[in-house]
Symmetry: C4
Subunit: 237 residues, 4 copies
């Protein structure tokens, strides 16, 4: 019936033991990627090699973790892929690893029986964080391809961040545009993410706002009808 059976105990133990190393690896990966692109000309070849090794080691750790979890889950590869979609995306795009932090924060709150974020707030935080990380990676990559291209208008990393913000918001001033084929391919990816994920953020925000106003109405009704707590009304979820 349920598509996601509870994880077996050995898998749970593995997850808990790997939490800290994976968090470190994800920060190392992101930092390594950023430093290689931004400080390329200021670093000696030795340092660049060190950073490359750090980046690849972090990635390898994600791959190993994924393989072990696939093994321990007792599911087939395809079924595991479908039920652990976010984990699979993280292996291919390790830049998104920090998104899992929100899920870990949620688990900690739940263990302590503390209230978690509301549904819409969680969708906003996840989608917003994903957009921010993908936007950061997109700005880095576009800057990498455009900075030295002839006729380019995106010349500094600051320009790339400004361009990314204008693109994600679908404002698109056009004062800066990628001119290289690879820069444009990354730009289309940034647009697609912007449309889909920021659409989720704004949609959730609208729903949350309307829900807040509706609850306030119910509170007012409750106060008038003799203080019946609004939390029991069926509309409040």
């Amino acid at each position: 019936m349920s598509d996601r059976s509870p994880d077996p105990p050995r898998l749970e133990r593995w997850d808990r033991r790997m939490e800290a190393p994976l968090a470190v690896a994800s920060v190392a990966y992101l930092a390594g990627y950023a430093v290689r692109i931004l400080a390329h000309s200021h670093l000696s070849d030795g340092w660049l090699d060190v950073i490359l090794v750090v980046t690849l080691t972090s990635w390898a750790l994600f791959v190993v973790d994924y393989a072990v979890r696939l093994r321990l889950s007792g599911l087939g590869p395809l079924r595991f892929l479908r039920t652990h979609l976010l984990d699979t995306v993280v292996v291919i795009l390790p830049l998104l690893r920090p998104v899992r932090m929100v899920s870990i924060y949620n688990q900690i709150q739940r263990r302590h029986d503390e209230p978690r974020l509301g549904l819409y707030a969680r969708v906003m935080v996840y989608s917003g964080l994903t957009v921010a990380l993908l936007g950061f990676a997109g700005a880095l990559t576009v800057y990498h391809y455009e900075a030295d291209a002839p006729g380019a208008s995106i010349l500094t990393f600051g320009d790339a961040v400004w361009w990314t913000c204008a693109t994600l918001a679908t404002v698109g001033y056009g004062d800066m545009v990628p001119v290289t084929p690879m820069g444009r391919v990354v730009a289309v990816g940034v647009m697609a993410c912007g449309l889909a994920l920021l659409g989720a953020v704004t949609g959730s925000f609208s729903s949350w706002l309307i829900q807040s106003f509706r609850r306030e109405d119910e509170k007012d009704e409750g106060t008038r009808n003799g203080g019946r707590p609004p939390g029991n009304s069926p509309g409040a979820s």
Copy 2:
């Protein structure tokens, strides 16, 4: 159960007594901010100092009001912050103070048992007013940073307002763009507000439109079925 317990009576008395002074302070703050930026070169240093004092006094009043209400509410700072989110935002961004007017208008209507605005209409009015005020503040601030910058295209306050409208609507012609780092930071803020709040306005407008058409259908049904008033049908909220 309810996250927002009814306010204690002393807090309510304080709120009622502060309504008028805070409304005056918010108008003074907004006017002071606008005059300092727009009429900067036409005013003597003495007048500029007077306006600065007015602006800071207004802000101080907001901070004092917030502190007293936190004290009287009997809640901890974090809990108060969570249940009085709009008030907290107003202390940090006093430009948003006039948004509270809508809430005060609502309270007055309720006291007289007059009908309030519908749910979607209220979301539209709140979000639209917030966007208008933030857009006005954004245009002022962008004008402040851009007007004298070398290579700038936003040269007059009219230009800044036109640029803000094109940005909020995510049209982004690109005939005018901020070129200074601070101008761009403010621009990103304007984009974020535009996306989130105008998304709420258009979403509420769509919902309201669909609701209106549905009600008309129900009225027609009611007329045919012997004049049963549509107000009793479960779909109409």
Copy 3:
């Protein structure tokens, strides 16, 4: 209970008698407005005066119709304004008069007991038609203010239509932008309409699409369960 009581019989008779004259007047108004702007330099002063008289007469007819209906309805002005919002808007912006055609088409279909358009389809048709008419009027007005302005990029009516489409879709290439203050004010109006009404169109289209897919599912279920007609299932509205 009901906010819209059924119209009294005399009002209904008036409405039916005025249908044809008002339709003619609305076409005359729109044509007069367009001809005055587009063929300004090709017409003699005599013809321009004739067209102006036609335009003003049409408008006067709308005002008279509104006044008579307000009188016959037996409601106060404010209450009539609230329950006949579209009619009021038409008096101020007679360019929107053709939007009422959809409502007349609906009434004719209903009299003959023929199926009307679905809820989402009607929202799409109304909003889409309103956007098309407002966009047409916006293109005319922007062309009127921009065509002869120094430094303008909108030089022909074709340019104005192309600019309006790019603005309504919030694409905003920026190859053409209004440069006069009045042109920009109209542009902001076009943006606001585009955001609100096209948001309603696309929102209704999405809802309609999802509804269609859901109905197909229910039909498949019905076929399997022995041909139970899907029209009776509660989800289909």
Copy 4:
């Protein structure tokens, strides 16, 4: 009651027999259209004629298939048009034929009683595929009209694809814009499709995301309440 009665057996037989030829014809049509535009100057007149014949034969096959199905369905033309909207659109715009593949894939899955895509996933796949195909056709057509126009900025097919992506996402940088009347007419069509269909994609994505988060909540609840499978809860559809 049901607007779509089950298709008669002869029609079903026809559909099954035509599946393969129509799939071949749709690929042939799309390839022929693309080759004629992209390789125009590299092909001899003989080859161009061959390709034209292939394209027209494919189209003829769609028209014949539509006519036969209209005949076999036993419905009037107008009623058939309303209940087979997608088929009708395909006859006019054969570029959309591949969209029907998704529907065929669904039918095969159903015959084997395998799980189909979820509701939102199907809306996303259909709308996304339609946008991709219409965008491809739009880029081809705009390239066809713009490439040789004086003062054009869209010079290569790569430029046309980049322009189409920026337009569909409503980013609209303005570094490339169509300048010919026909190019602009196609551009307005691309904008309209982009708004409507990508709106459906992002709307479905948001709904799917919120649904996923809600299900996770329910799973957690289920685990706590003694492992009740979440599939039975009423909210999960």
